[in-house]
């Protein structure tokens, strides 16, 4: 290799003043040939490794070429870069296959142990949430964003809290033995979670802003849509300036959050003993968008909640001033919402605890 004064040839070009290397194509081509030759003729794994370090190692020749690329004559620069890159790939592949050869008599492709990425993963799996508690939790969270907190009460209630305090007439059929489960101590299984509202109002002054999820009981014969044991969530907001329009706003927000942003609400007048005015609240069908389908029985609307402005006689019962106090209350069936939301056709599925059913929810 030619050497001129003040310069020294290297494997990739010519070292000039101060150790800087000027890469040139011709030298590089030669080095490439040498490198591939060394790789082909290496006789041990160690020798192969030495080849790799010489050419591809962190301080090897090829990184050096790439570093000095800017010093290459402009007309050669692209070619040098291309050659260096293709050499790197070619040498790496060659080293790999040679390593395989040296490791045994077989070729790399049918010998290297291949990890089976398709094996099932391991480790404990998360369990599933029951659709009823999922709906309760979501409803609680939605009303929680409006400042409602959860209140609880007993399943076994006094007739006073379940009926009298809620302004239910002494001969209202809801009290009948054919509708309500009575117990031998004169108490009953609550038919709604409204008695919790009474208990909270008895224990504190307004403002009251609660939701009361819980289990209720009615003497229904079980079929696809009725269960003697079911869940409700009720809400109560009592303050000094609450209106029916506020109720509609709160239920509209709930409808959007629970069933989807395009779901609308509408009110129909109704009768409940403890609210006046009373309304039933329909949600527009989230399946058909109101056009009518099987879920909404063609009407475009689904009856979801009963609601209204708290009857002043209820406020009197709990010792609030019926004149200065106003408030709204609402209630809805959890199973019904779960069935509509998840398309569950039969309420009994919710209480059969079939893993094939439960696994669908998480």
């Amino acid at each position: 290799m030619a050497t001129t004064k003040g310069t020294k040839s290297t494997k990739v070009g010519t070292r000039v003043r101060g150790g800087e290397v000027r890469v040139d194509l011709e030298t590089l081509k030669k080095t490439v040939d040498e490198g591939l030759g060394e790789a082909r003729t290496a006789e041990s794994a160690d020798a192969l490794e030495a080849v790799r370090i010489t050419y591809l190692g962190r301080k090897g020749l090829m990184p050096q070429v790439m570093k000095e690329l800017k010093s290459v004559a402009p007309e050669e620069r692209a070619e040098v870069g291309r050659l260096a890159n293709s050499f790197k790939n070619e040498l790496a592949a060659l080293l790999e296959s040679r390593r395989g050869e040296l490791n045994g008599a077989h070729s790399a492709s049918d010998e290297a142990p291949v990890f089976d990425f398709t094996l099932p993963g391991q480790g404990s799996r998360r369990g599933t949430r029951h659709p009823i508690s999922m709906v309760i939790e979501e409803a609680v969270a939605i009303f929680g964003r409006m400042g409602f907190t959860v209140a609880e009460g007993p399943d076994v209630e006094t007739p006073y809290h379940n009926f009298d305090a809620l302004n239910t007439a002494a001969h209202h059929p809801a009290r009948d033995r054919q509708d309500t489960f009575w117990l031998d101590d004169g108490n009953l299984l609550r038919t709604q979670t409204s008695p919790v509202q009474i208990r909270v109002m008895e224990s504190r002054q307004p403002p009251v802003r609660i939701v009361t999820p819980g289990r209720c009981y009615r003497r229904d014969t079980t079929d696809a849509t009725h269960s003697a044991n079911f869940h409700q969530i009720e809400g109560l907001y009592v303050d000094h300036d609450v209106s029916l329009a506020d109720l509609k706003g709160a239920l509209a927000y709930f409808a959007h959050e629970m069933m989807g942003p395009d779901v609308a609400v509408r009110f129909r007048p109704h009768f409940f003993p403890f609210t006046e005015p009373s309304v039933e609240c329909d949600f527009s069908c989230h399946v058909c968008g109101g056009a009518g389908c099987r879920v909404c029985k063609g009407s475009g609307w689904i009856e979801i909640a009963g609601a209204g402005m708290v009857d002043p006689r209820v406020f009197e019962r709990v010792g609030y001033d019926p004149e200065s106090t106003t408030g709204y209350a609402f209630g809805m069936g959890i199973e019904r919402i779960a069935m509509i939301r998840y398309g569950i056709p039969d309420i009994r599925l919710l209480y059969e605890n079939d893993m094939r059913f439960l696994r669908q929810f998480s």
Binding site: P120, G127, T128, A170, L244, A245, R266, Y351, L358
Partner: protein, 799 residues
């Protein structure tokens, strides 16, 4: 309630289509649940005249008729009992289509040709009556289309009248609603009587024992009544309303009830002992046969209409069989009265007898309609039964209560509704509803509730009237305002929600069971709590007869049912309430139950059987981890005793010395009920014991600076020595530098000898002040080993 539109339109001139009226009613508080078109599909049906009737040669129950269809006589085979020569009946000729879509074709019935069909009302979709073919008045002409005879297709609205609106349980009441909604006039007919003969007071007397039970009782006497079927138009209207026509006199009482809401009763006057009426409580044990031929035992909580000797009707509910209107009836006592709603309701429930009359009385019948109804019925009886009406009406009534006037303040109304309604609109609505409203100035309207609206008692009731007629669709939805109630405390429900999340994170699936089950299902798990069980007074079925006192039985059953669907692996939890008697009262408590069966989801696919140990320890691991994340330390597991669990596999769980639950392996006997092969580990504890630490009390400890030293040792001990014993001994030495004790292997071998086992531990030593030297660690480790040898007779192998 069923409302035929043609009847409604007699009182209110609204020509709007049924669907529109239905919509208006639904959005003003009376939901229309359905619209029926009775007679639709009967276009091909005609009047047939039965010319001859002969026996079918091969079938006892069939008859051969010749039916004249207006042009020809055709052979018809018929199975009904009421075919008679000369009768006119609904007839479907060959080629006719019935409302259900069936087309009449020539047929051979047991060898006899039939060219058409004589139809029953239910086959024509006109009612549910299948008592025989539909007979038509004798004057109808064969071949006339049936719909022409019936007056066309009748549209019937099916209404859901709310409990408070007794005034809507009649055609006139609904006409009043429709008139208000459409702003048109309500036209109620004023029946005019022609009376004759001796006055009613000479016929009968009425005595009311207690006006509170019966605020008003009126009686009329009608003589010379001719019993026969009612005219077709009346029978059709009754049928449309779901009331079966009987005879003209009874039909008229039902017709007038449907029309104005006042139930009426007609007695056969000849059957009233001493010709008089006594309204009184029944004597306890008094008996009577009601119209439905049931012998009923009465109590003093029931009001009866009696004659001089015995009850002839249960007031407001049902008449007695003894005074029933029949073919021999000539003189009729017509009752129009009102009864106490609560009393009527209690009697109806006690007798298990609900009728159209009791349905109305228990919701309040308007006293001011009582006389109108009596007069209306008397006029109809004179017209349709040729009866003569005795002059006068006996009318026993207490002083009517005057309804208190209600002030409706517009400012209040607007505040409650959140709608700026105009003064004039409020007045318009109240007036349209026939609620007298007086403008008292200062934006206050005074209202005197009319007698037909006993539900209007306070201002809020009027506010509802206004908004339901004004329409709720214009009600704005105000953006919700988040309001924080600062002292509201819901830490417990939030802790329960967190507990649920933890359990799901630990791989458990949440289940839910009913709060009631059968005694038998509870018995299977032990009977010691039988006396404390809470039974339902009126369970829907014996399968749901008793409140659960434990979550374990249903947890086991849920796992078992899954096994029957080849779901052999399950890990579940339930958070639910149990019920029990405690100090004479019924108590309730939230519990957490966990059930583990088979392999964990996501575990390796080894084929080894699932051992009782592994199952039990999985359960324990779940509880330990739950306790850890809930900040509940030191759940103690001590041997327990429970008939549901295998001996030796049952523990009591306690926290701070208080028993809070139990755990164990389900007995093989119980597992066998569902053929569960794998061991089943179950646990139940008081929910509040595991969520008692609501506030996080974690405080930071400095992270160790100096390295730790780990030393293994194998402790060879008798089988009787437990892990807990070894821990206790190690902890009794417990040098400050011992920071962790980890069990990593249990091993048994022949060399160790029978009844011996090796338990291998890693002990970790670390000092907070310095790097421990080998010598220090060795001496501490040696002290521990010595103590294990001394106290447990352990043989120790260092590793």
């Amino acid at each position: 309630m069923k409302l035929p539109l043609s009847w409604l339109r007699e009182y209110v001139a609204v020509e709007a289509p049924a669907e529109e009226i239905a919509e208006r009613l639904t959005f003003s508080g009376t939901e229309v649940e359905g619209i029926e078109h009775l007679g639709a599909g009967c276009e091909d049906i005609i009047v047939g005249e039965i010319r001859t009737v002969t026996a079918h040669p091969k079938a006892d129950r069939l008859r051969l008729c010749r039916v004249f269809n207006g042009t020809d006589e055709v052979p018809v085979v018929c199975g009904a009992d009421n075919v008679e020569v000369g009768a006119k009946a609904a007839f479907a000729p060959l080629g006719a289509t019935l409302p259900d879509g069936m087309t009449i074709k020539q047929a051979k019935l047991r060898g006899e040709i039939s060219q058409g069909m004589l139809c029953a009302e239910d086959e024509l979709g006109l009612s549910s009556d299948h008592g025989g073919i539909m007979l038509l008045p004798p004057e109808t002409v064969a071949g006339t289309p049936l719909l022409e005879v019936l007056g066309g297709v009748e549209t019937v609205l099916e209404l859901e009248v709310t409990w408070n609106r007794s005034d809507c349980l009649s055609v006139i009441g609904m006409a009043r609603e429709v008139a208000a909604l459409y702003g048109v006039e309500l036209k109620v007919p004023q029946p005019v009587l022609a009376e004759s003969g001796k006055p009613v007071a000479e016929w009968t007397r009425v005595e009311v024992a207690d006006a509170a039970d019966c605020p008003r009782y009126t009686a009329r006497v009608l003589t010379g009544a001719v019993l026969k079927p009612s005219p077709l138009w009346m029978r059709r209207r009754l049928s449309c309303c779901g009331v079966r026509p009987i005879n003209n006199v009874v039909d008229i009482t039902n017709y007038v009830m449907l029309e104005c809401g006042q139930p009426l009763h007609a007695f056969d006057f000849a059957m009233l002992t001493d010709s008089r009426i006594v309204v009184r409580r029944a004597a306890t044990g008094e008996r009577m046969a009601t119209l439905d031929d049931e012998e009923r035992e009465l109590t003093s909580e029931m009001l009866v209409i009696a004659d001089a000797e015995r009850p002839v009707a249960v007031a407001g509910i049902m008449g007695g069989a003894g005074s029933e209107i029949g073919d021999s009836t000539q003189t009729v006592l017509l009752e129009s009265a009102t009864f106490d709603p609560a009393l009527t309701h209690r009697a109806s429930v006690a007798l298990g007898l609900s009728t159209d009359a009791s349905h109305r009385f228990e919701r309040t019948v308007d006293r001011s309609t009582t006389e109108w109804a009596s007069r209306r019925a008397a006029v109809l009886m004179s017209e349709l039964a040729d009866a003569a009406v005795a002059p006068g009406m006996i009318d026993v009534q207490a002083e009517p209560e005057t309804a208190a006037p209600i002030a409706c303040r517009l400012a209040r109304l607007r505040a409650i509704l959140g709608v700026p309604l105009e003064h004039s609109e409020v007045l318009r609505i109240l007036t349209a509803l026939q609620i007298p409203a007086i403008d008292a100035g200062d934006d206050v309207i005074h209202v005197v509730p009319p007698s037909f609206r006993p539900d209007l008692k306070i201002e809020a009731d009027l506010i509802e009237e206004v908004i339901r007629v004004h329409g709720l669709d214009e009600l704005p939805a105000a953006d919700p305002i988040g309001r924080i109630v600062v002292d509201a405390d819901d830490a417990r429900p939030r802790a329960v929600a967190a507990c649920r999340d933890h359990l799901v994170g630990l791989g458990l699936s949440e289940i839910m069971n009913y709060s009631f089950l059968s005694s038998r299902a509870l018995d299977r798990f032990g009977r010691e709590g039988v006396a404390q069980r809470v039974e339902l007074l009126d369970p829907v079925s014996a399968d749901h007869g008793v409140m659960r006192d434990s979550l374990i039985p249903q947890m086991a059953e849920s796992l078992g049912r899954n096994v029957t669907h080849q779901e052999l692996d399950a890990a579940c939890f339930e958070i639910g309430r149990v019920f029990f008697r405690e100090n004479g009262a019924i108590g309730e408590e939230d519990r957490l139950a966990i059930g583990i069966m088979g392999r964990a989801a996501g575990s390796s696919t080894g084929g080894a059987p699932v051992t009782p140990e592994a199952t039990f320890l999985r359960l324990k691991g779940v509880l330990e981890e739950l306790a850890r994340v809930q900040n509940v330390r030191d759940v103690a597991w001590t041997p327990g005793d429970d008939p549901a669990f295998e001996t030796g596999w049952c523990v009591a769980l306690s926290i701070d010395g208080v028993v809070v639950g139990r755990a164990g392996l389900l007995t093989a006997d119980i597992r066998h009920n569902w053929r569960i092969q794998n061991p089943v580990a179950l646990m139940e504890l008081k929910l509040d014991s595991i969520i008692s630490q609501l506030h996080d009390t974690t405080s930071f400890t400095a992270i160790p600076v100096y390295p730790s030293v780990a030393r293994d040792l194998a402790v060879i001990v008798d089988e009787a020595v437990q892990h807990g014993d070894i821990l206790r001994v190690i902890n009794s030495v417990s040098p400050e530098e011992l920071t962790d004790i980890g069990l990593f292997d249990i091993f048994r071998s022949k060399e160790m000898g029978n009844r011996r086992k090796s338990m291998a531990y890693t002990l970790t030593y670390r000092s907070a002040e310095r790097t421990l030297t080998d010598e220090e660690t060795n001496s501490q480790h040696a002290a521990i080993m010595d103590r294990l040898r001394e106290e447990l007779g352990a043989e120790i192998k260092e590793r």
